[in-house]
């Protein structure tokens, strides 16, 4: 079998393995292409703290300066901070340097448009055309500007959250919060935000050295240390961020990781309680959210997977909140971006306002069990797999906007190729674990059979 390539150029940006495919030449060219695309103006850049970040940053700076852009460098910061600053400074765009949940060997560029959103599919394709055409804007030395090192971006982010939500209401007891930033970009801002909200904070993994002390994704199996910390200090809640601090996972007061799917559910509960309105989530997000929206008589709309798609649908539907089941919460009143810091603030306000525990709040929702599976799959095989699934499940209703989502009598199934890695993802949700396991096992068998054929 042909080796699976480590470079992934897609509408999600360009990502690859440092030391293999993600070379400084490639990065410089993409930065030149982006500078050519958005034109000579301010570009905000920021990076997560992974080891290759400095090499990538320098490549990006060189490419942007060459294209005549004015570079505003936020240094190490969360991705949502880059998006917020693009809007605050009325910049032409931004580049976030992060491979988010990918392992340490990876890095990536994510391109932000003037609205602070990731490039839409159409914009991303235009950028790729410029990149491939290879004719980039070039300015003479006399037109080049020095890089502006922007200080105070983190303060501005915290202020933006407090301005909208305010500090936690004064109560008899301060909320006790454990935080695990995974030594990522959240390390330098999450403890400060929590303190500014008025919580008591116990941190773990808040050294921003990009050292991956745990698995990069804030999934339950990586959160042992946080769960122990919650139990040890009898915390009301535990929060875990990914490397670039866009995704958030929650640990209950009992020290149980409740799964990323419920981050958006909890945040939505607080928002709909105060300002009912449309909700948007991607196709793979738990249907517990539909039940919650129904209880508030609010419509829910589904979008393709990917932050840009969710954001686009949110704009179309004038959604009050939206996001993804991987722990990405988008609350447009503060930041039109998946923002773990906003998610934390919403959930803490929910706990304070309701006076209930995380466990109690979850118990109010109908039970849903989700299982996920991923299989290595060359991109040229994905279509074949999807055709097989389509044939096997032909009798059930299907949504074909992003892979295949099948609505089954006792749950649902989603099969799609990843935008970021050479794998195929399978997701199933049902009212019991057994049912979900049955759905995913059957779909996995179909997929394997197709790949082996």
């Amino acid at each position: 079998m042909r080796a699976i390539p480590t470079l992934k150029i897609s509408i999600s940006g360009v990502r690859g393995v440092v030391g293999e495919s993600l070379t400084p030449t490639l990065l410089v060219r993409f930065a030149q292409a982006f500078g050519t695309y958005v034109g000579p103006g301010q570009i905000v850049i920021g990076r997560d703290p992974r080891p290759s970040g400095e090499m990538v940053r320098q490549s990006v700076v060189a490419g942007l300066l060459s294209a005549g852009c004015r570079v505003v460098d936020l240094g190490v910061c969360p991705v949502p901070t880059v998006q917020l600053l693009v809007r605050e400074r009325r910049a032409r765009g931004g580049i976030a340097i992060t491979a988010s949940h990918n392992p340490a060997a990876w890095n990536a560029l994510k391109f932000v448009n003037a609205a602070g959103l990731f490039l839409t599919g159409a914009q991303a394709r235009q950028l790729l055309d410029i990149y491939h055409q290879g004719e980039y804007a070039k300015v003479s030395g006399a037109e080049m500007r020095a890089v502006e090192a922007a200080t105070g971006a983190l303060d501005l982010h915290i202020k933006a959250i407090l301005d909208v939500l305010g500090p936690l209401p004064p109560s008899a007891r301060k909320l006790r919060v454990a935080i695990d930033s995974g030594n990522g970009a959240g390390s330098i801002i999450a403890p400060r935000l929590l303190a500014a909200l008025g919580a008591e904070v116990w941190p773990v993994n808040v050294v921003p050295d990009g050292s991956f002390p745990r698995g990069a994704e804030p999934v339950p199996e990586n959160l042992g240390a946080l769960c122990a910390l919650v139990r040890e200090h009898k915390a009301d809640v535990g929060f875990a961020q990914d490397m670039d601090a866009d995704r958030l996972a929650v640990v209950s007061e009992r020290g149980a990781a409740i799964g990323e799917e419920y981050t958006l559910v909890l945040a939505t509960r607080y928002v709909l309680g105060r300002e009912p309105g449309p909700v948007v989530a991607n196709l793979a997000t738990t249907h517990a959210l539909d039940a919650l929206a129904r209880s508030y008589n609010c419509p829910i709309y589904r979008s393709k997977i990917g932050e840009a798609n969710v954001a686009e649908e949110m704009q179309r539907r004038a959604a009050v909140i939206g996001g993804e089941g991987n722990g990405g919460v988008i609350y447009p009143r503060i930041n039109f971006a998946r923002d773990s810091l906003v998610g934390m603030a919403l959930i803490l306000h929910l706990l304070a306002a309701s006076g209930r525990t995380v466990t109690e709040l979850l118990a109010e929702l109908p039970p849903r069990y989700m299982l996920k599976e991923k299989l290595a799959c060359r991109s040229d095989r994905i279509g074949k797999v999807l055709n097989t699934i389509r044939r096997e499940y032909a009798q059930w209703p299907m949504d074909l906007r992003d892979g295949i989502k099948v609505t089954l009598p006792d749950g649902w199934l989603l099969v799609r190729g990843s935008n970021t890695e050479p794998i195929i993802r399978l997701v199933a949700e049902a009212e019991t674990t057994e049912k979900a396991a049955r759905i995913i096992a059957e779909a996995t068998n179909h997929t394997r059979a197709c790949l082996d054929a």
């Binding site: 440092v18 070379t23 410089v28 090499m55 490549s59 060189a62 003479s140 030395g141």
Partner: protein
Amino acid sequence: MNSIKIGISGVRGVVGETFTPELVVGFAQAFGTYLDAGRVLICRDTRSSGPMVHAAVVAGLLAAGCEVVDLGICPTPSLQLAVRWLAAEGGISITAGHNPEPWNALKFVRADGLYLNATQADELLDIFHQAEFAKATWARIKTEVAQADAIAHHLDTLVRAFDAPAVRARRPRVAVDCCNSSCALLAPRWLAELGCEVLAVNDDPTAGFPHAPEPRRETMAQLRALVRAGHADIGFAHDADGERLGLVTETGEILPAEATLALAAEITLRRTSGTVVTNVSTSGAIDVIAARHGASVVRTPVGQAFISEAMIETRAVVGGEGSGGVIVPRVQLTHDSAATVGLLLEHLAQTGARVSELAATLPRLVLLKRDVAVAPNRIYSVLQRLYDALAREQVAYDQTDGIKISWPDGWLHVRVSNTESLIRIISEAATETRARELLDWARDRLGKG
């Protein structure tokens, strides 16, 4: 006209045209690959494309697994001296030296602080063209860029190398033009260390070049005015990266660029005997001076690396080029305008002589230069016309570098520039009339471009 030059002097080009970040990244990766990772020093001059080129160099070096030590804005000789001090494998100076502001360049320095020689430059080019660079994985890539103060170290070295107390005792009044470049951070401090009264002009590294960054008559009028108005004992003009030095006497005379090496040779040979090394394009005054002191002259092709290496071979006591670059071996074996300043001020202080008196002892020869712009695709055929003429007329010539023809009363040198798409013609004779005749003689045989 092509605006890229890749050769023994490094890689240089016009930013916004050929000198792209991709090209720079590629050369930085190639150099990192050539050095097999390790520690690499980098510095830049003050041209406004510096930050872009700097970022591209850092990216390329980090990607190749190098440990980058950034010296910031700093003269090239300060970097060259720091390579050994910091036990680095090499360095990259981001400067187009005397080229105008739109240009920038990378100059590659090896572990002994000297420029890559012709063979090494060829090896680097082969790696660049092959484009299979060393790539550090995430576990090995360096996460940060370190910083160091090479200028402080350069100053320490200079103070120890020269008789500073003798200069301090005289308290000379010195005018200096730093071209608003990296020498602004070195030259005034060095003069202050020597106890000089300093009259500095164009000493703001943020202000942009006030004139072409090359010490010649047209760029030194401001310095001459300062020398006259301030009654200075001497005036020094630095280029953009601290290699070349131009001189103004206390009488307000701008000395030709050729005089800097000639004075350095005169001073050095009065004190020590030994060989002088210079290139084939440099004034015959050097031969006259050497003959006076019973010394010999070794001529090399044009390019600093050739002079440095010949100085090592011959254990020469002084060397340099007619462009104003002088090598003072007690500091280092590369052009260093601050060391040249030290040599001159030390001598004037110790002997009590005036610089105009010293200049008066130099042989009076007239050296003329004419640059003929030739499209890169025409250079070969234009030169061939000259070779054909020389064969037809049975004129003997030296081919150390280009074509050098000597007559009893003068000489003529024709060569292709290392740094621009030009054919340079240089002639020298006792009178301007004769020197001009020689230029015309060459031009007639080259024909129209």
